[in-house]
């Protein structure tokens, strides 16, 4: 009980001036967007899906050069092959996800009421494999990122639809919200400290991207990784950067965080996979 009180208090402290602990997700979202609009505006709401490139012109030019023929195209091709390849039992990913791959990406993440859990795209990819007697992929890179890249690519133009409708879903949303605003690590920074209050500013050699729009463009090919990586791979790296112990990919903490971020970006266009530094 004590823990909950402390975290609510923390929440109240860190959340203001943006949101209160009692606001609805829709109210939170409006306050979140107004904060960005007021403090670090981009040319329009849609451009936030381009992350830091909405602020940094020199970086945007480099990104546009890379987008001319982006390295993630190789992953999309690999992902397409994996998607079409039949499992040992004759089924394939379409058997789990449906025949129209262009409709897949926009479904995720969502809250499963009966299981009371957050369902992510990567989670469903591996569930499809194990349900069909195949070995699951590793969570953060390689094949899972390739399939995710293919699905993201085919789903471009769709909109983020994540919205908590039930009390159980809202509980997960609040869990993600708390994670987002809680300070962590030796550097004692919350996600919000960098990606809301300091969006567009520099932290040593890096320019901070806005949290608004974050989930639209994953998975990403990062020049630093020289490979594709999922959203949870990035979460782990980010937590390590503030010298906090990272959580496991697809852990409850990261699923809740992904859920919260998607709700904040509800309605924005899906433009994955992305290319980043």
């Amino acid at each position: 009980m004590k823990k909950i009180i402390t975290s609510v208090a923390l929440l109240a402290l860190t959340l203001s001036p943006i949101v209160t602990a009692q606001a609805t997700p829709a109210e939170d979202r409006e306050a979140f967007r107004n904060y960005f609009k007021k403090n670090t505006p981009s040319k329009n709401l849609d451009d936030y899906i381009n992350g830091i490139y909405t602020y940094n012109k020199d970086a945007r030019e480099q990104w546009e050069e890379i987008e001319e023929f982006p390295p993630y195209e190789i992953a999309i091709d690999n992902g397409r092959d994996l998607w079409e390849k039949k499992f040992k039992n004759g089924k394939s990913f379409s058997s789990c996800f449906g025949k129209d791959v262009s409709k897949v990406r926009a479904k995720y993440p969502y809250h499963d009421e009966s299981k009371d859990t957050i369902v992510t795209l990567e989670g469903t990819i591996n569930k499809c494999l194990t349900d069909n007697g195949e070995k699951p992929f590793k969570w953060k890179k390689g094949k899972i990122a390739a399939v995710s890249a293919y699905v993201a690519f085919e789903g471009r133009g769709g909109k983020i639809t994540t919205e908590p409708k039930t009390e159980k879903a809202k509980a997960w949303y609040n869990k993600g919200k708390q994670f987002f605003y809680a300070k962590r690590g030796q550097l004692n920074l919350s996600c919000a400290d960098c990606h809301v209050y300091s969006a567009s500013k520099w932290i040593r050699g890096d320019n901070l991207s806005p949290a608004l729009g974050h989930p639209s463009h994953f998975p990403v090919y990062r020049s630093k990784w020289n490979s594709m990586g999922t959203l949870h791979r990035r979460y782990g790296g980010c937590n390590k950067n503030v010298r906090a112990k990272p959580f496991k990919a697809q852990s409850d903490e990261y699923k809740a965080l992904e859920y919260f971020q998607a709700v904040m970006s509800n309605g924005l266009e899906l433009n994955g996979p992305g290319a980043r530094k």
Partner: protein, 154 residues
Amino acid sequence: MKRRSFLKSTVLLSATGAAVSTGILSPNVAMAAAHGNNAFKAKSVDEVLKMLGATGAATSDKIKIKAPEIAENGAVVPVSITSGIAGTTEIISITAANPTPLAAIYKFGESAETSVKSRFKMGKTTDVVVLVKAGDKFYTAKANVKVTKGGCGG
């Protein structure tokens, strides 16, 4: 001029000849090494220029280098080089601060526009030194690219 280059290739051939016979290099690669450029092994810009016969190249404002001021990530830096010098046959890109600075040599056929885009690795802040060969002469231009490391993306 011809004699010098003949001697150069003979020396290369005998060195690589040994490598071929001991099975280190396949014949194809040996051929490439003999005809290709040892300038790729040079450890400084001056050495690269010397090996290419480009020492004393005149600066030209007809060479346009489009490279970022601050590279987002040194692993993938997009660079676009265009030569407006008449009779250009080669564009050469040198990343001055890299351990072996010579990065690429492009040779253009008659119908090609003398402009090329590629992506380079830059280990740290560096000059991108470009050489253009037109006829028998070399021309040069350079651009500086800052490479940072550290922070949360790094």
